[in-house]
């Protein structure tokens, strides 16, 4: 087996290759729509009001909770709306967004410098800086980077994931060619933040230019740059770690449990911007590609720029389009280009509309099993997911499925297997939630019954005690009364006696 190879996965060459991966700068747009819903940590709370003027780089919303992240204004202008808008999500559910109308000045907010030299800052301060800059995993997962680094502090190895997420995406490739110096510096910042002594940068072997440009700028002997075979899903964290280090991370465990921190190369660039250049995360590199565009290209665009604006620059044809955010394997189909770029938008596919291949019955060929990179049995999972037999699907390790879509790709019947699995996972979560809710209702109902019963009992007991006390008191009073009467009688008797004695005398 080739060096750093792994089992499963599929080799798909880039369907729309370009000769030179360059990054075209997209000018700040007239209007940005910034998504407040974060992938992890719920909805960010706005900290500016409607009609406020904001500057580029200003924090406009924050999430609280376990992994707080910030949302920054990506242009300067006036907040013109805070409302629900459609977002690129398979559900089609609208989510809270903030709209900024540009004033055309792109005026930046004053941001305090970390230090002249990041090495003078403590790792905690560097991590805080990363948190304030609102950096999340730029590969597509969107997990808050500061939380990931904090969890992995004291790691021995840092892995930089420079494999492209999916075939067709070129944004990481172009980043490495355009910003090799920044990426190496960003890696050094990360090393300082997490304390890792060794760094491996993993680049797929179909990107020799990126490899060369990084090699040219790498003077740090603790950073080794390695080529790995080009094969889809090599970018999945656990698989990459297994291929590079031979460490298998168990189901339910994290890389940080093994002293490993894995970061995407795009995230590294964002960290460089935040710590060295004092710029929060307000832009990202997006690949625009597909059969309907004349020139597939990478763009650096402000967050919140509409898809339509960047797609326009790639000269799309006049036919009907089929637009997809993310890669050809795991992306999300969206109805039109009226969506905006968010922190995890790595690619926009614009394809000519063509009829979907018809889905046929499963012929039990089991072609899906050998390509599964996490060694599952997609066919078994398919039957159980389709029949909503969640218990059985869990027995076949449904939760370990990474929904990479390799099984869909090889299926001769065109069955969207991974969609069934994501359905089954969502159903499983729903059933668990329901069960928890039902248990809580039962508990609360039973406690209420108990409480009412207890109150009743306490009341009767209290009444009984009162009655008893009253009775005792009455008995006592009677006794006292009798005593008094006796005393009076005695006194009367004494008086009578005295009178009699007097008379006799």
């Amino acid at each position: 087996m080739a060096r750093f190879a792994f089992k499963g996965g599929v080799h798909i060459p880039n369907p729309y290759p370009v000769r030179k991966s360059e990054i075209k700068q997209v000018p700040p747009p007239e209007q940005v729509v910034l998504l407040l819903q974060q992938r992890v940590g719920g909805e960010a709370k706005p900290c500016v009001k409607l009609g406020d003027r904001v500057l580029t780089g200003q924090i406009i919303a924050q999430t609280t909770g376990k992994f707080p992240t910030n949302v920054h204004a990506s242009i300067s202008g006036v907040i013109s709306a805070i409302e629900k808008r459609p977002i690129p999500h398979p559900s089609g559910i609208d989510a809270m967004c903030m709209v900024i109308d540009s004033d055309g000045k792109d005026e930046w907010i004053e941001i305090e410098k970390c230090d002249k030299e990041f090495l003078n800052c403590t790792p905690d301060k560097v991590i805080q800086r990363i948190r304030e800059a609102g950096i999340v995993g730029m590969g597509g997962a969107g997990f808050p980077t500061h939380a990931k680094i904090t969890n992995a502090q004291g790691a021995h190895t840092l892995i930089i994931n420079a494999t492209e997420c999916e075939p067709g995406i070129m944004c990481d490739d172009s980043l490495m060619q355009e910003y090799p110096r920044e990426i190496i510096r960003g890696i050094e910042v990360l090393m300082h933040a997490c304390g890792a002594k060794k760094v491996i940068v993993a680049i797929e072997d179909d990107k020799p230019e990126a490899l060369n440009s990084l090699l040219m700028y790498n003077f740090n002997n603790r950073i080794s740059i390695e080529q790995i075979p080009t094969k889809y899903t090599s970018g999945a964290e656990k698989l990459l770690i297994k291929a590079l280090l031979g460490i298998e991370i168990q189901s339910g465990a994290y890389a940080s449990d093994h002293g490993i921190l894995c970061q995407n190369v795009g995230t590294v660039k964002a960290i460089y911007d935040a710590v060295i250049d004092n710029k929060p995360l307000i832009s990202r590199v997006v690949t625009v590609t597909g059969s309907a565009v004349k020139s597939p290209r990478n763009y650096e665009a402000r967050l919140g720029t509409s898809f339509a604006q960047v797609v326009e620059s790639s000269e799309p044809n006049n036919q009907a389009h089929h637009i997809r955010m993310g890669g050809m394997m795991m992306g999300v189909d969206i109805p039109n280009a009226q969506y905006s770029i968010c922190k995890i938008t790595n690619c926009i596919f614009v394809n000519n509309k063509k009829p979907q291949p018809t889905v046929k019955e499963c012929i039990r060929c089991s072609a899906c099993a050998p390509v599964c990179p996490v060694n599952l049995l997609p066919q078994q999972l398919y039957w159980h997911s389709k029949s909503e037999n969640i218990e059985k699907a869990l027995e076949y390790n449904l939760t370990d499925c990474i929904e990479c879509g390799c099984c869909n790709y090889v299926c001769p019947s065109n069955i969207p297997l991974s969609e069934y699995f994501s359905f089954a996972k969502a159903l499983e979560r729903k059933l668990t939630r329901e069960e928890q809710r039902i248990d809580r209702s039962r508990e609360r109902f039973e406690f209420r019954e108990y409480r009412l019963e207890r109150n009743k009992k306490e009341r009767t007991e209290m009444m009984a005690a009162k009655k008893k006390a009253l009775k005792e008191k009455m008995a006592k009073d009677k006794e006292k009364d009798q005593e008094q009467k006796d005393k009076i009688a005695q006194a009367m008797a004494r008086v009578e006696q005295a009178k009699e004695d007097k008379n006799n005398a």
């Binding site: 819903q37 719920g42 999500h89 398979p90 559900s91 559910i93 989510a95 979907q356 889905v359 389709k386 909503e388 969207p416 969609e419 069934y420 994501s422 359905f423 969502a426 159903l427 979560r429 729903k430 939630r433 039902i438 248990d439 809580r440 209702s441 039962r442 609360r444 109902f445 039973e446 406690f447 209420r448 019954e449």
Partner: protein
């Protein structure tokens, strides 16, 4: 012949003793059937089944004093599950007990609330927070959607809010996946 009679008598006695001991040692507390039925019921505690809560209904079912089709929140699926557990023919939901409504919770229009506490007393799961002559509100997370508070409110300030799927709770539809 006599030996076999003796052997079997001794065997019967010994096994009888073992069974007798087991019946005491492994005695099942309570009625497991009631628990099993209760586990299927939706725990809305709405009383639409004519019993004062899910557990009383489960007890009545276990005794054979109720029909399996008296629980509208459980829906037809619930009736079917009960039929399977109790090994009886499934029945169609009895419309007399009300209709199955989509998942919902209630909320209080706090501006109108007069603090009469009637809803607090009506709620089977203590989902109301409030006190006499002060504003009352619902802990939405604990509300089961039983609607028992709605008729008791003298100022009609309790409303129903349907639960719509959010980004976190969304489940794709199987039909859409199958047909692309």
């Amino acid at each position: 012949m006599i030996e076999s009679v003796v052997i079997f008598s001794i065997l019967t006695l010994a096994l009888g003793l073992v069974l007798g001991y087991a019946a005491i040692r492994f005695k099942v507390e309570g009625n497991p059937l009631v628990d099993q039925i209760d586990a299927i019921l939706p725990q809305t505690q709405c009383g639409q089944c004519d019993f004062p809560g899910c557990r009383p209904y489960a007890q009545a079912l276990a005794k054979g004093e109720a029909q399996i089709n008296q629980c509208p929140p459980g829906g037809q699926e619930g009736a079917d599950a009960l039929a399977e557990l109790l090994d009886v023919e499934s029945l169609e939901l009895n419309a007399e007990h009300g209709e199955t409504k989509p998942g919902h919770v209630v909320y209080v229009d706090e501006k109108l609330c007069i603090g009469c506490t009637l809803c607090i007393q009506a709620c089977p799961v203590d989902a109301f927070v409030g006190s006499s002559k002060v504003m009352t509100t619902v802990i939405a997370k604990e509300c089961t959607g039983c609607d028992l508070c709605i008729p008791v409110c003298p100022v009609d300030c309790i409303y129903v809010k349907e639960l719509t799927p959010t980004l976190g709770t969304y489940v794709p539809s199987l039909g859409e996946i199958a047909h692309g």
